[in-house]
């Protein structure tokens, strides 16, 4: 079986994430960045499935030079190889353009039995890309999956929305987006970290995918950010130590401020 994991390189959630004041893109320089935490669950699930029943795990991502670190992390976790789409024209690409590029990269890599993704990125967090990739590839899509098994060319599992939980099955190939409840991603061992250094990472550009620069980036985007303003930081207010009256003082605060 061949599994392709679609991943994203994002600013760390604990870093000082901010927007470029000129074009409202996410600032990438001098910000600690990483493989999106939510994509680690997809990588982990792909590696577990390959450990159970064999097959390879290809990681596909697009992003600036630093995204090589995210690819490396996935390889350390057990992925077989990576494809990194890197092109200056990608700056400003939105969800639709991302789906176009990732789907094309999956096609160029020879397709997949299973395409796995995280449920959303941890920066923009729209959660739109997985279903859009499925549309581009003409494949069935299952989102918000927290249990997944593959046997005999069929994926079975469970998914959950706010309203219900359901068990499903789908004949492969298919695109599946997994949540952070599906597994516990591994920390790579020293041996795995060393082995990853020898794994292939192919860096490709838009021309390799037959995508014109104006189909992506700002030119191809179907959405635009008009302004991005930092909210005033929340500051800490009154702090009281509980000496038996903490509960009463808390209620007094709520009442005095007409909150209850």
């Amino acid at each position: 079986m061949r599994t392709v994991v679609l991943a994203k390189y994002v600013p760390d959630a604990t870093a000082d994430r901010r927007f470029d004041p000129a074009d409202h893109t996410t600032v990438r320089d001098d910000i600690e960045s990483r493989l999106s935490e939510l994509d680690e669950y997809a990588v982990e699930q792909a590696v577990r499935l390959s450990e159970q029943s064999g097959g390879e795990v290809l990681v596909v991502l697009m992003g600036p030079g630093g995204a090589a670190d995210a690819a490396l992390r996935a390889l350390q976790m057990g992925a077989t190889a990576a494809v990194h789409v890197r092109d200056a024209a990608l700056r400003g690409t939105d969800a639709a353009g991302t789906a176009l590029v990732l789907a094309a990269a999956v096609g160029r890599a020879g397709g997949a039995d299973l395409v796995l993704t995280g449920m959303a990125s941890t920066d923009a967090g729209t959660g739109l890309v997985p279903a859009m990739v499925a549309h581009r590839l003409g494949l069935p899509f299952v989102g918000y999956v927290d249990e997944l098994d593959v046997a005999g060319g069929t994926a079975t599992g469970a998914r959950e929305t706010e309203a219900f939980r359901e068990r499903f099955e789908v004949a492969l190939p298919a695109v599946v987006a997994v949540t952070d409840h599906i597994n516990e991603p591994r920390y790579p061992s020293f041996k795995a970290i060393m082995a990853a250094k020898k794994k292939p990472v192919e860096v490709i550009a838009l021309t390799d995918l037959g995508i014109a620069p104006d189909e992506v980036g700002f030119a191809g985007a179907r959405t635009a950010v008009e302004s991005a303003l930092r909210r005033p930081a929340r500051s800490s207010g009154e702090v009281v130590k509980d000496d038996g009256d903490g509960g009463a003082r808390m209620v007094a605060y709520l009442v005095d401020n007409r909150l209850i």
Partner: protein, 316 residues
């Protein structure tokens, strides 16, 4: 005048309050037409009219034994192409329909709008809260029919109407019925307010040590919803549906009470836009203390029952 499609969020035969809010928002752009997917009966009809649309599309014929978001999107594609905008709930299902629909319309999508206003030309501009609530972003769809998912609390619902009801039959493609549902369990409707719509939310975390009774008692005394941190959910102490944070539910209540929750960035992402934050935590250095308007340093198992008692006493 072209209509604005609004996809209803159903809870059995009830249309949720958030839908009525979105219908009210939609009026700024054109006459709202509410799409109600699933079984149609008098109860749904009443609830749909109460949401205030000019027209209702009653979408039937969705395959019950397959994942439905794509089938809904396919059924709406033609109508959506003739609309001025499509507004959907910012739920998991709503976002899936939005993605499938926008892919077909070749439209842009803006997700998680907390406000939606017309610009000088009457086109929708959305306000979003991003990067764990540290930035406010205004964005718009620049290509195709705008598709926007809207969060609860974006507007006040308008008055009920007497909408025209137009039946709509789903004709799902083979790819839309490819994912077979083997069984489905609908979440039981609790007695407490909905987490995303509640004025007050009381959440418990690691500090509960698995005992949510004090959290629930305080929530009930306040008429509040109950939430949980990821740590509490991962420990199996509270159901996943109640998880507040980046990968769970985002809430924006008048008051958020964080009890025994340290306040990791992933949790703050789900509640930092609350008007007032109150924290109860044994650790005075916990990150939640830095964002709390009022904080009690103490054991929630001691503090919360006293607070509950005090509220009950004040009501007498």
């Amino acid at each position: 005048m072209s209509e604005v499609l609004v996809l209803a969020q159903r809870d059995g035969d009830e249309i949720r309050r958030a839908t009525a809010e979105t219908v009210a928002l939609a009026r700024a752009f054109g006459p709202p037409a509410l799409v109600v997917a699933g079984p149609w009966n008098d109860g749904v009809a009443r609830s749909a009219a109460a949401a205030g649309p000019e027209k209702v599309y009653a979408l039937s014929g969705l395959p019950d034994d397959s994942v439905s978001a794509l089938a809904v999107a396919e059924s709406l594609a033609d109508l959506a192409a003739r609309s001025v905008a499509v507004l959907l709930p910012s739920t998991r299902e709503g976002k899936e329909v939005a993605a499938h629909l926008a892919a077909r319309l070749e439209s842009g999508v803006v997700t998680d709008a907390v406000r939606l206003e017309p610009d000088a030309e009457g086109r929708p501009v959305a306000t979003q809260s991003v990067f764990a609530g540290t930035f406010t972003v205004r964005s718009r769809v620049t290509r195709g029919v705008p598709v926007v998912t809207v969060k609860p609390g974006a507007a006040e619902p308008g008055p009920a109407t007497e909408p025209v009801v137009v039946p709509l039959a789903a004709t799902p493609s083979p790819v839309a019925t490819a994912v077979r549902v083997l069984d489905r369990s609908v979440r039981p409707k609790g007695d407490r307010p909905q987490l995303t719509e509640a004025e007050i939310v009381v959440s418990g975390g690691r500090g509960t040590a698995g005992d949510f009774s004090a959290v629930e008692a305080l929530a009930d005394a306040l008429g509040a919803a109950v939430g949980a941190s990821r740590a509490a959910v991962d420990s199996g102490w509270y159901p996943h549906a109640y998880q507040v944070g980046q990968t769970g539910v985002t809430v924006s209540p008048q008051v958020y009470l964080a009890c025994g929750i340290s306040g990791a960035i992933q949790h703050l992402a789900g509640m930092q836009t609350a008007k007032t934050i109150v924290a109860v935590n044994k650790d005075p250095e916990a990150p939640i203390m830095a964002v709390a308007d009022f904080a009690v340093v103490g054991d929630l198992h001691a503090v919360l029952p006293k607070a509950t008692e005090e509220i009950v006493a004040r009501r007498r």
